[in-house]
Amino acid sequence: MKILVCISNVPDTTTKIKFTDNNTRFDSTGVQWVINPWDELALTRALELRDDTSNSVNKVTVGHVGTSAADPTIRKALAIGADDAIRINAEPEDAYQVAAQLAEVIKKEQFDIIFAGIESSDFNGSTVGSMIAEFLDYPSVSAVSGLNIDNDEPVITREIDGGKETVTIPTPCIAVVQKGIAIEPKIASMRGIMQARTKSIKVMEPVDVDIITEVVTFEPPQPKPDCVFIEEDNPGKLVELLQNEAKVI
């Protein structure tokens, strides 16, 4: 079985978010770019499945829509252990366009399971994975926090309000994954970093897709309001403020 992990290239999560050009553009000066945290967990689980000989997963490919500026992030995914990569050479404009591009590639290359992180830490759209599923008319499960393979069939744990559900769907399918899918992201070894240099990044040209959303402007983060401190030997004061001023208890 072949797995595709869709990855997004995002600013490191500790980045101080700033905008330029009259708040119309993200200021990428000095920003470190990383694999979107949810995609990194998806990649980790995909590699665990490949390395587990009790199932038939034998190849993990990463897919990305972006320019060559994202190559270092793709190389990182290869260093972590992905076998090869496909980059669709287009500036990512919105979720619909990114999903449409990835769907085209999946049609050509054929994968059994496609992993996508449930959201990206930059645009927080939570849309690409399930959009791909719809473009391809594949079954999909979202909020996936566990995935095993039993006789070539994915056995999926998905989060529901107040609990979990175990479901199965036939392949080819899309698993939109969230936290819990892997315990912690796999880290690249020195050997992995060396091997990644010779692994293939196949560059494919994009198809024509309409752009249907546009960011008009960004609102930078608001300063936090003042804080009231209460001395530790005066808990009564805290209770009184919560009861009478904030009126929350």
């Binding site: 399930s130 959009m131 079954p139 979202s142 752009i211 959303t213």
Partner: protein, 268 residues
């Protein structure tokens, strides 16, 4: 033209979230000079459905069918898309929760409708149609134009106040055409805690961080939450360490909550 809102139910009951969605949709409908139609999928009694009318739904469509007992993303999105077309919906409002995140993208492709996800306010304008959505994991907001005829909004939970109106809603049965063979999700097992207050519904939240030093020190937090009638939450490192279940993880990469009172203990 109408605003269509999908109202999920939990064992036949609605929650504050459902009423929040209807209140929000009605606000959008007012801005567009139209009315709100709610769609409920699954078995919900009419007196429960009527409650949606109190928050501004003018028409309530109910769709009951065995197929929808299992949440299959294709079946649900196909049903909502068909109803959206029949109702000539201009805006579709869905919760930005697990179910909404699974449905909205499929609807977007089916209807070629732009999605604004994690929206926290009514649209900033309707011509052009611009929504305010959180970006950079809550560190900023984007004003995003949705450039298609039909628009989809997923509303961030706990971001819009309930607005009661006196509206006599009509309840109608909806019908859709679903190909049973395309419903391929099979549920093998369900693990659900019943009777427990869900974190996202809690008005009071007691959260613990790594400063609690060990999972053995959680008892006072749990007791405090119980005493106050609230729920417990935790920071990311705590769920990463496995001290608390990851359902309790709130913040940037976890659940978004908006309680009236949030008590953070051992969180820097």
């Amino acid at each position: 033209m109408s605003v269509l809102v999908f109202t999920e139910n939990w064992d036949g009951k609605f929650k504050k979230l459902s009423f929040e969605l209807v209140s929000y949709s009605n606000k959008v409908a007012e801005m567009l000079g139209t009315s709100t139609t709610a769609i409920s999928i699954g078995s919900v009694a009419d007196d429960e459905l009527t409650k949606l009318g109190k928050f501004g739904a003018k028409k309530i469509l109910k769709l009951e069918n065995e197929i929808f007992k299992t949440f299959d993303t294709r079946a649900y999105s196909s049903a909502i898309a068909q109803i959206a077309q029949k109702e000539k919906a201009e805006v579709i409002v869905i919760a930005n929760n697990n179910m909404g995140k699974a449905i909205a993208p499929r609807l977007s492709v089916k209807l070629k409708a732009a999605v604004g996800s994690g929206v926290t306010k009514p649209p900033l304008s309707t011509e052009p149609f611009v929504v305010n959505k959180k970006v950079y994991s809550g560190n900023a907001f984007a004003h995003m134009e949705l450039k298609t005829g039909v628009k989809i909004i997923t509303l961030a939970q706990n971001s819009f106040d309930l607005i009661e109106t006196s509206n006599d809603a009509t309840i109608e049965e909806a019908s859709v055409d679903i190909d049973k063979s395309a419903v391929q999700t099979k549920v093998k097992d369900v693990e659900k805690q019943t009777g427990k207050l869900l974190l996202t519904d809690a008005e009071i939240v007691v959260a613990g961080g790594r400063g609690m030093k060990s999972p053995d020190n959680w008892t006072p937090l749990i007791e405090l939450a119980e005493t106050l009638g609230g729920a417990t939450a935790c920071s990311r490192p705590v769920s990463d360490e496995g001290w608390r279940p990851h359902e309790e993880h709130t913040g940037q990469t976890g659940k978004i909550i908006a309680p009236n009172l949030y008590i953070a203990i051992g969180i820097s």
